[in-house]
């Protein structure tokens, strides 16, 4: 076996995946406990210097060393990025090694009665039963039933949530997508901060050829005088032409062809408020959303809809039922007991 193949298999081992998860957990833990340079100012030397000076004053001179060693930008720390890449590779290796079995389990299920007791399965022997009664009882419980006969022996297989074995693959794919999204956002995304006074126009830059215009800013108040909302009327210009315009609020950006214009702050000046807007281009956004939704679907299906199957062997004098489930399904034994009780009463 080549070294590359050995490394690939090693990465796909559950122990390696668990260790990587644990290391990611440690990194996240560190990232929570140490002050982190906000991503919006990482690329801005002047604002970075201001932030560091304030941080030094707040937390002491140790902050310099932490910054130099990359502890204040942990999301860009090489070891963290390497961990993410390794997690992605581990997930990929794990997925590729499992997909055949998961696919077979979902679409090509065996009708044979297991020759030996399988771990995690529960078996019960009942008096002889008509196949039709058993089929009806299983179908009533939401199982899809298939049957095959050989001589005097009938084998019956019933599956519920048969496709949920694929949920693990969906979850793994979601993790991959999230890592890809993180990479796309970090490498291809950008954010530009623009300060623009009332009636003024300021260029967005970044080769967009766009500019933003501040058409007015209002602050709404509650009856007690506290701030209810900030509303900025903003226009996005390409040359002299307005390509988009609207109200920008804290939870309401202005969107235009993959760009988002966000209200980040304002300061009072004679004649109106000077807006601080952030123009964001993030190609990882959609991928992250898709990854997040797939993750939710995968996790939910794994937890709530475990694939459970019953294999019955009906022969002269007895019926042997064995129930099994994918993963850890605590309801299997109870299901078998209830089924046996119901069939015994038939």
């Amino acid at each position: 076996m080549s070294t590359l193949r050995r490394v690939w298999r090693f990465l796909g081992r559950m122990g390696v995946a668990s260790s990587l998860l644990f290391l990611l957990l440690l990194f996240s833990l560190l990232g929570s406990l140490l002050p982190q340079l906000p991503p919006s100012i990482v690329g801005n030397p002047a604002r970075r210097a201001t932030w560091l000076a304030a941080a030094r004053e707040r937390w002491g001179p140790a902050i310099e060393g932490l910054y130099r060693w990359g502890f204040l930008t942990l999301s860009r720390f090489p070891l963290f990025v390497a961990l993410l890449v390794l997690t992605a590779l581990s997930t990929l290796s794990c997925t590729l090694s499992r997909w055949r079995a998961a696919w077979r389990q979902a679409f090509h299920r065996s009708l044979r009665f297991p020759a030996a007791h399988l771990p995690g399965s529960h078996t019960v022997t009942l008096p002889s039963l008509p196949a039709a009664d058993l089929r009806a009882a299983l179908e009533e419980r939401g199982y899809r039933v298939r049957a095959a006969s050989e001589g005097e022996v009938t084998c019956l297989r019933a599956d519920r949530y048969g496709l949920s074995g694929l949920a693990t693959l969906v979850t793994h794919l979601a993790v991959l997508l999230l890592v890809v999204a993180y990479g796309l956002s970090g490498w291809l995304g950008w954010r530009a901060e623009v300060a623009v006074g009332p009636g003024e126009v300021a260029a967005v830059g970044r080769g967009t050829g766009l500019a933003v215009r501040n058409d007015g800013f209002t602050v709404a108040h509650y009856p007690d005088g506290s701030v209810a909302d900030y509303r900025a009327q903003v226009a996005l210009l390409a040359g002299d032409r307005v390509v988009a315009e609207g109200v920008v609020r804290v939870n309401g950006p202005l969107r235009f062809r993959g760009l988002g214009v966000y209200l980040m702050g304002f300061r009072e000046r004679e004649g109106g408020g000077v807006l601080t807007l952030q123009v964001v281009h993030d190609p990882g956004e959609g991928v992250a959303l898709a990854g997040g939704l797939l993750l939710l679907a995968g996790v939910t299906a794994t937890v709530y809809l475990p694939h459970r199957w019953v294999i019955a062997r009906l022969e002269r004098g007895q019926t042997v039922l064995t129930v099994r489930s994918s993963g850890r399904d605590d309801g299997v034994e109870a299901e078998l007991t209830a089924l046996a009780r119901e069939l015994a009463g038939c």
């Binding site: 998860l21 982190q36 509650y222 804290v250 939870n251 964001v280 997040g292």
Partner: protein
């Protein structure tokens, strides 16, 4: 409202304890009654608070603590009804008392009703807050059961303690309920952050810690399903994961204030 809830919770704890140690049915029913009364009072109190404020009571740590407690009691009662078992009730209520004590510890200024800040005026506030509360609540119930499993005398012989297997099953069910909700809360938080700030992940201390908690519970599912962990060892992982979750709820905001970390989160 919280004081009444608190009294009912302590009454439920004592009665559930008597039921477990003495085996008397009336005490078990009394424990359930106490938990139901606490939940009803809390539900009413939260509804009144929301109506008075004109917004969902999810805008600060105090309000979130109340919703966390509400969800914990709801999951506790649902699990009790579906399993028909009361002997583990005291452990779930113990965790509920911990959450209620934390909420009660907030000074009156933090418990007052305030108008909704501009940053919180979003449809994502109830979605993100409620999903987190349900996830936290279910994980709280799971932690109570895990705690019971760690101190369980073992075996199936003691007539007073519920069988180990049923405690483990209930623990798995509680966490199975909580984990997708935790996932949904992180996902909805990411969507909200994108709408508000133009980024779905910003390494805010609370965000990073939610990832820590999520990874902690993911580890539980992996260790159980793939490595076959069971018993006290697995229950220990659940307790540790809940310690992480609780630190995210109480410790991270304290750190944000104490060492002045920057965070956009109100709870």
């Amino acid at each position: 409202m919280l004081t009444a809830t608190y009294i009912f919770l302590w009454a439920a704890l004592v009665l559930y304890g008597l039921h477990l140690l003495g085996g008397s049915d009336w005490a078990g029913w009394g424990g359930t009654g106490g938990a139901v009364a606490a939940w009803v009072v809390l539900t009413g109190g939260l509804a009144i608070r929301g109506l008075r404020a004109g917004h969902w009571p999810l805008t600060n740590r105090y309000e979130f603590g109340l919703c966390f407690l509400w969800a914990l009691l709801a999951v506790h009662l649902l699990l009790e009804i579906s399993a028909g078992e009361r002997r583990w009730g005291g452990f779930g209520i113990g965790v509920a008392i911990l959450v209620a004590t934390t909420a009660l510890a907030h000074p009156p200024g933090e418990r007052a009703i305030y108008p909704l800040a501009p940053a919180l005026r979003s449809v994502w506030l109830p979605i993100h807050g409620l999903t987190a509360a349900v996830g936290y609540g279910a994980c709280g119930v799971g932690a109570g059961l895990a705690l019971m499993r760690t101190v369980h005398p073992g075996g199936e012989r003691g007539p007073k303690w519920p069988p180990v297997v049923s405690v483990e099953r209930a623990m798995g069910r509680a966490l199975g309920l909580g984990f997708p909700w935790l996932t949904l809360s992180i996902l909805s938080g990411g969507i909200w952050a994108e709408v508000a700030w133009g980024r779905y992940w910003g390494w805010d201390p609370k965000e990073s810690w939610s990832l820590v908690v999520w990874l902690g519970y993911l580890l539980f599912f992996h260790l159980r399903a793939v490595r076959g962990w069971r018993g006290r060892r697995l229950a220990g992982v659940v307790v540790a994961a809940f310690v992480l979750l609780y630190f995210g709820f109480v410790g991270i905001p304290a750190l944000v204030r104490g060492i002045r970390l920057e965070s956009l989160h109100g709870f």
